[in-house]
C-alpha cells in the first residue's frame, strides 16, 4: 500500500485535464430557459394528470429532449443544460424571485448570470403567466399564515422555492442495477401494487425510461462525433458511446462505467429537482471493486484511472445552482455541495482507507476547483500516511478536504435515531450536513434559528431594536431582570415562542413539498421508497429527519458572559447603561470596549463561558425533541451557517458581546467570533469541544485559518497532523482550514484580476475568493490566523 500511495502521488496531471479545467473556468454563465420550456409543455400536455405524474412527464421530456453536448476531450460526459454552468430556470419550484430580479442577474453583487434578451422575453410572456399560482413558492406563500412569516426574523424558514436536496442517494445500488434494472423492478412492482400505489410506480417507470434514453442519446452523439470529430479523439468518442450504451442496458462493469454512471445519476437528480447538493458520498468505498477489478485484470493503468477521477472532478463544477439574491448572499460563490467523503471507518469499525481514497485526494491536488466538496473522514485509527496526505492537500489552500470525525459523528447519528451500522457508514451532504448512505431524507436545511436575534428581543421586551416593532413576547427589558437567572428564564420563554412558530411553519412547508415536489427519480435511489411505493417527500425513506440550524453559539456565549460578568457579578456596568448602548448601537466606544475586553470570550478555553453556549444548544434541543416532523421523523440540530452569518447579522442590532448593529455574526457555526480567540488553536479546540457535538446530528462547522508559513518548516505537516489528531480526540464533529496569508487576501480584494483562481473556504464549501461580496471577503480576512511567525 505504501508504495502504491507514493506511486499515486507521483502521477502528474494530463494536458487533457488541464485543458478541460481551463475551459470550464472560462465558460460564461448564462441563464437558461430550455428546461423550463420543456417542463411547461409537459404540464400543458398532461393538464388532467396528478402532480406526481406531471412532474414525471416533465422530467422525462427533459431527459429526452434537452439539447446535449460533449466537449472535445471529455472522458466523462453529461450535463443538465447544453451550456455548462447554466443558470437553470426551474418553474416548478418558483420564479417569483426571478420576476423581480431577472434584470439584476448580470450586475448583482453575488453569483452573476448573463441573460439573453429572447430568454427574458420568453420568461415574461410565457412562463410567468402560466406558472402563476402553480409553483411550490406560490403555494407556500398562500399557505403560511402572516404571524408565522412575521417570526421569520428569528426562525427563518428555508426550502420555499425549490425541491429539497442534501441527499446522498444509494449510488452503490444504482451502479449494481442501472436504470434498466430499477425500471424492471418498478414495472414488476406496479403489476402487483394496489391502486393507491400504482401511480407511484408508474411515475418511477416514466422517469427511468427517460434515464435510459438520456444515456442512449449521449451514445448516439458520441458516435456522430467519432465520425465528424478530429481523428485523435475518435477512439475516445467510441469509448464514450460504448460506455453510455452499456449503462443504458446493464449495470456498470468497469471503473470508467461506474464513474460515468455515478455522474449521470447526479445530473438526473439535479435535473429533476434543481436543488442543492446531491452528494455522491463514500465514493472511494463503492467504486473500489470496479477499480480493483480493472487493475487486477489489466484493463487500465493507475494513470488512466486517475485521469477519469480528475475528469469527473471537473464535471462537478459544470452544474451550478442559481439562487435568488438573498439566497446568493446566504450561500455565496455557488456552493452546490457535491460532497464526496473519503476514508473513515467501515461498517465493521475497521479503517476504510484504500488506494482510491488517496486518488481522490490526488484528484484534488490536480484539479483544485470549487467542487466537488471533498471531505475526509478521520478517526483514532486513521493511518499516518493518510493523515499526511490529507494535510498536504490542505496545505495547498483550497480549503479541502474538510475533516469529519468519526469519533464524534457516529455517536451523534446514533443519538438521533440512526442504527449503529448506518451511522458508521455516514456520508456528508452539501456542506457539512450529516446523512446516512442512500436511505435518508434529512431535509437538512429546513430552517435557521437566529438565537442572537432572540436574545436581542429578550433584552428589549420583545421589541426589535432596529425597527422598533413588537416581534416577540413582552417579558420586560434587561433593566427588569434583577438576576442573571431571571434574564435566562426570559430568554428561554422568548426562544421557545419563536421555535413554536417555526415548527408550525415547517409542517406546512413539508406538506407543500409532498404536494408539489414529489420526486420519482430520487425516490428510486433512496432505500425503501420502491418497496413502500412511497415518494421520499411523503416519508418513503428509511430515515426522515428535518434539520434546523441554530445560529450562533459564539455570539450568545460571549453576550451572556458579558451580561453575567459586567452587569450581575462585577457590576462594572448598569443594565440601563448597557441597554442604552445596545439600542443606540454603542454611541460610547468606552462601553463597547469594556464588553469586548473586560469579559472573557468563547474560544479561549474558559469553561464557564463555553458552557453558556452549550446550555442554549441543550435548551433548544430539549424543546425540539418534543416534536415530530411532517414525515414522522425527528428534528436534528445543525450548528453551521454556511455564509448566512453575514446576512443574518444584518438583521441583529448591537449585541452585548461588543458586536455593532448589522455586523456579521460569528462565522462557521462553532467558530469563535473572529479575532476573539486569543489563546491559539489548541485553546479554541478545547472550547469547541465543550459544545456537545452529539446534539448536532445535522452537522457542525468550525473554521480555522492557518498561515502557509506553518507548512514551510520540514516538519510542518507533522505538526499539523498533531492538530488533526487532537481534534479527533476532542470529539469535535468537523473542522476545515484556510491556509492563506492575510496579505494575499487583502491584495486579492484590491486586484481581483490577479487572483482569479484563489480559492478560500467560506463555510462548508470552497469558493473563488474574488467571486465573494465585499462583506464576506472582509469577514474572511478578519478570522484569526494561526501558526505564522508573528
Amino acid at each position: 500500500m505504501k508504495e502504491l500511495i507514493e506511486q499515486i502521488k507521483q502521477i502528474s496531471v494530463t494536458e487533457r485535464i488541464q485543458r478541460l479545467r481551463r475551459q470550464t473556468l472560462e465558460e460564461p454563465r448564462y441563464l437558461t430557459v430550455e428546461q423550463a420550456r420543456l417542463i411547461t409543455r409537459a404540464y400543458r400536455e398532461h393538464e388532467g394528470e396528478s402532480i406526481p405524474l406531471k412532474r414525471a412527464y416533465a422530467l422525462r421530456a427533459s431527459m429526452e429532449q434537452l439539447e446535449i453536448r460533449i466537449d472535445e476531450g471529455e472522458l466523462i460526459v453529461g450535463n443538465r443544460s447544453k451550456e455548462s454552468c447554466g443558470g437553470v430556470v426551474f418553474p416548478e419550484g418558483g420564479i417569483k424571485w426571478l420576476e423581480r430580479e431577472i434584470d439584476d442577474l448580470e450586475t448583482r453583487p453575488q453569483d452573476r448570470f448573463l441573460v439573453r434578451p429572447e430568454d427574458r422575453a420568453y420568461f415574461f410572456e410565457e412562463l410567468v403567466p402560466f406558472w402563476e399560482g402553480k409553483t411550490l413558492e406560490d403555494n407556500i406563500g398562500k399557505a403560511l399564515p402572516e404571524e408565522i412569516k412575521a417570526c421569520e426574523v428569528v426562525g427563518k424558514l428555508n426550502q420555499k422555492d425549490h425541491a429539497q436536496g442534501h441527499i446522498c442517494p444509494n449510488v452503490k445500488e444504482w451502479l449494481a442495477k442501472g436504470p434498466a434494472g430499477l425500471l424492471a423492478e418498478a414495472r414488476e412492482k406496479k403489476g402487483r401494487a394496489d391502486k393507491e400505489h400504482q401511480e407511484y410506480y408508474f411515475a418511477t417507470e416514466l422517469v427511468l425510461e427517460g434515464a435510459v434514453h438520456f444515456m442512449l442519446r449521449y451514445a448516439e452523439l458520441a458516435k456522430e462525433l467519432a465520425e465528424k470529430g478530429p481523428k485523435t479523439e475518435q477512439e475516445n468518442y467510441l469509448a464514450i458511446a460504448q460506455v453510455c450504451t452499456h449503462l443504458a442496458e446493464r449495470p456498470a462493469e468497469t471503473f470508467r462505467e461506474a464513474v460515468q454512471s455515478m455522474w449521470f445519476l447526479i445530473v438526473l437528480l439535479q435535473m429533476e429537482s434543481n436543488a442543492s447538493s446531491f452528494s455522491p458520498g463514500r465514493a472511494d468505498q463503492y467504486l473500489y471493486p470496479y477499480f480493483r477489478r480493472d487493475l487486477d485484470e489489466g484493463r487500465a493503468t493507475l494513470e488512466e484511472l486517475q485521469e477519469l477521477l480528475d475528469a469527473v472532478f471537473i464535471k462537478f463544477n459544470q452544474i451550478v445552482y442559481m439562487r435568488n439574491t438573498d439566497g446568493a448572499a446566504f450561500f455565496a460563490g455557488f456552493p452546490i455541495g457535491f460532497n464526496i467523503a473519503v476514508g473513515g471507518k467501515r461498517a465493521d469499525g475497521s479503517d476504510g482507507v484504500n488506494e482510491l481514497s488517496h486518488m481522490f485526494l490526488h484528484a484534488e491536488e490536480h484539479v483544485q476547483m470549487r467542487q466537488p466538496n471533498l471531505s475526509a473522514r478521520v478517526h483514532k485509527g486513521s493511518p499516518d500516511s493518510y493523515l499526511k496526505h490529507v494535510s498536504e492537500v490542505i496545505s495547498l489552500g483550497t480549503g479541502m478536504p474538510q475533516l469529519f470525525n468519526d469519533e464524534a459523528v457516529v455517536p451523534a447519528l446514533e443519538k438521533a435515531g440512526y442504527s449503529h451500522e448506518d451511522a458508521l457508514n455516514y456520508a456528508i451532504v452539501g456542506c457539512v450536513e450529516l446523512s446516512t448512505h442512500g436511505n435518508a431524507l434529512g431535509f437538512s436545511d429546513a430552517a435557521m434559528f437566529n438565537m442572537v436575534k432572540a436574545l436581542e428581543l429578550t433584552l428589549n421586551d420583545g421589541v426589535c431594536m432596529q425597527s422598533g416593532r413588537q416581534l416577540g413576547l413582552r417579558l420586560g427589558t434587561l433593566e427588569d431582570f434583577g438576576t442573571f437567572q431571571e434574564l435566562e428564564d426570559a430568554y428561554q420563554k422568548q426562544m421557545y415562542y419563536f421555535m413554536e412558530q417555526m415548527e408550525k411553519g415547517l409542517l406546512i412547508i413539508e406538506e407543500m413539498h409532498k404536494k408539489y415536489m414529489p420526486s420519482a427519480m430520487l425516490s428510486s435511489v433512496v432505500d425503501s421508497c420502491m418497496e413502500k411505493g412511497m415518494d421520499v417527500t411523503a416519508g418513503g425513506a428509511v430515515y426522515n429527519k428535518s434539520g434546523i440550524q441554530l445560529i450562533q453559539v459564539a455570539n450568545v456565549a460571549d453576550s451572556m458572559a458579558a451580561l453575567k460578568e459586567l452587569i450581575y457579578d462585577k457590576k462594572e456596568l448598569t443594565a440601563g447603561e448597557l441597554l442604552k448602548q445596545l439600542r443606540e448601537n454603542y454611541p460610547d466606544e468606552r462601553i463597547r470596549q469594556m464588553v469586548l475586553t473586560h469579559a472573557p470570550k468563547y474560544g479561549n478555553d474558559v469553561d464557564w463561558v463555553d458552557e453558556l453556549g452549550e446550555k442554549w444548544v441543550e435548551r433548544f434541543k430539549e424543546r425540539l425533541d418534543t416534536w415530530t416532523n411532517y414525515r414522522g421523523g425527528n428534528y436534528t440540530i445543525g450548528l453551521y451557517t454556511v455564509s448566512a452569518h453575514v446576512p443574518m447579522g444584518l438583521k441583529v442590532a448591537a449585541t452585548p458581546d461588543g458586536r455593532r448593529s448589522g455586523e456579521p455574526l460569528a462565522d462557521g457555526g462553532l467558530s469563535a467570533v473572529y479575532g476573539r480567540d486569543r489563546k491559539g488553536p489548541t485553546a479554541l479546540l478545547r472550547s469547541v469541544s465543550r459544545i456537545d457535538s452529539s446534539n448536532a446530528a445535522n452537522g457542525t462547522l468550525l473554521n480555522m485559518k492557518f498561515a502557509p508559513q506553518l507548512f514551510e518548516d520540514a516538519d510542518g505537516v507533522e505538526k499539523f497532523c498533531g492538530i488533526i489528531r487532537g481534534f479527533v480526540e476532542l470529539k469535535i464533529n468537523h473542522v476545515q482550514f484556510n491556509v492563506v496569508n492575510k496579505q494575499d487576501l487583502i491584495a486579492a480584494k484590491k486586484n481581483p484580476e490577479n487572483y482569479r483562481h484563489l480559492l478560500v473556504r467560506v463555510a462548508g464549501y470552497t469558493a473563488n475568493y474574488v467571486d465573494l461580496a465585499e462583506k464576506l471577503q472582509d469577514e474572511i480576512i478578519a478570522r484569526t490566523e494561526y501558526g505564522g511567525n508573528a
Partner: protein, 293 residues
C-alpha cells in the same frame, strides 16, 4: 516556586519539535539591538500601552494618582519614574490597552497550564519550551520549572543565549530534552557592539554542552547587515563543526513585527527599515550554515 514571566504562547510551532507551549521568562543580561521581545529585557515591574487597542479616551490619565501618564502626540506616554504600579489605570482602561508586562507565576501553575495541552503535545511529539528574556537569568526558577515539568512527563526544551555561569547550565542538564542555543555573532568585538556583552562565556559554554553530550540545535537570528553576513554565518558554521561534527544549525528569519513593541514601550526600534528575507534569499543563507565546513 515563584518566578517572573512576561508571556505564554500555546501552539508554538517554531520553538522545537512538535506543538509546544513556550513560556517567556522576564529579564536578560544581553542587550541585542534587534531584540524582538524588548518587554522581556529588564526584570521587574513594568507596564505598557498597546497603542493599537488604545481608544484615547483618557480614562487612565484621570485615574492615575501619581500623574505618571500624559497624552503625547496622540499617544499615552508613561513616566516610569513616577509610576507606583498601583494598577488603577490597568483595571480602568476600557479597552485593556494599558497592561502590566510582568507576571508573577508559580511553577506548579505553569505545569498545570502546559498539562492542559497534553492531547496536542503528546500527539505531535511536542512539549514545553522555556524561553525569554533569558531563562538562565532566573536560574533557580528555571531549574525548578524544568524539574517539575519533567516530573509531569512533559518533554522540555530551553531556548538560551548560554550567557550564564557554567554551573547554571550544568544544573539544568539532566532536565532538558533539547537545547535551542543562540549563537549570534562569532566575532567578539561585533558581539559586544550589538549585544552589549562578550561572547567568550557563550562559546565556552557551548563547548561545555557539547562535551556533556547535550542534545543541541544551534540557531542564528538573521539580522540584515549584522548577523546575516556570509562571513558570520560561515564562521559560526565552522566553529560549530570544529567543536563537534553533526550539530545542526538553523537560521531564523528576521521578524519585522518587533518595531511595534518598542512603540508600546514608548521607545523606538534601532532600524525601522529592516524587513524579513524573501524565500529565495533565505534559502541561500540557510545553505551557508548547512554546508559542512
Amino acid at each position: 516556586m515563584t518566578g517572573e514571566i512576561f508571556d505564554i504562547k500555546h501552539f508554538a510551532v517554531h520553538d522545537g519539535p512538535g506543538i509546544r507551549t513556550t513560556i517567556f521568562l522576564k529579564g536578560c543580561p544581553l542587550r541585542c539591538v534587534w531584540c524582538h521581545n524588548p518587554e522581556g529585557m529588564k526584570p521587574g515591574r513594568d507596564l505598557w500601552v498597546k497603542q493599537e487597542a488604545c481608544i484615547h479616551c483618557g480614562t487612565c490619565i484621570q485615574t492615575c494618582r501619581e500623574q505618571a501618564l500624559r497624552m503625547v502626540e496622540g499617544e499615552i506616554a508613561i513616566d516610569r519614574g513616577r509610576c507606583s504600579f498601583c494598577d488603577a489605570c490597568v483595571e480602568k482602561c476600557p479597552s485593556r490597552a494599558m497592561k502590566r508586562i510582568d507576571r508573577q507565576v508559580e511553577t506548579r501553575d505553569l505545569v498545570k497550564l502546559v498539562t492542559r495541552e497534553e492531547i496536542f503535545t503528546r500527539l505531535s511529539g511536542g512539549g514545553v519550551t522555556i524561553s525569554g528574556g533569558e531563562p538562565l537569568y532566573q536560574p533557580e526558577f528555571t531549574l525548578e520549572l524544568l524539574k517539575e515539568m519533567k516530573a509531569a512527563w512533559i518533554p522540555t526544551c530551553i531556548e538560551t543565549s548560554m550567557f550564564a555561569p557554567w554551573e547554571v547550565l550544568e544544573s539544568i542538564l539532566p532536565y532538558v530534552d533539547q537545547f535551542l542555543v543562540d549563537i549570534k555573532l562569532l566575532d567578539e568585538e561585533q558581539h559586544k557592539k550589538y549585544t552589549g556583552v562578550s561572547n567568550r562565556q557563550i562559546l565556552s559554554n557551548f563547548r561545555g554542552l557539547v562535551e556533556a553530550g547535550a542534545p543541541l540545535l544551534v540557531r542564528i537570528p538573521l539580522i540584515p547587515g549584522i548577523t546575516a553576513t556570509e562571513e558570520n554565518l560561515r564562521g559560526i558554521r565552522s566553529f560549530v563543526s570544529g567543536t563537534a561534527p553533526g550539530i545542526p544549525i538553523e537560521v531564523l528569519n528576521f521578524n519585522s513585527f518587533a518595531g511595534t513593541k518598542y512603540r508600546f514601550l514608548g521607545d523606538t526600534y534601532f532600524d525601522e527599515e529592516l524587513r524579513a528575507f524573501p524565500a529565495e534569499k533565505l534559502s541561500e543563507l540557510r545553505k551557508i550554515v548547512e554546508e559542512e565546513g
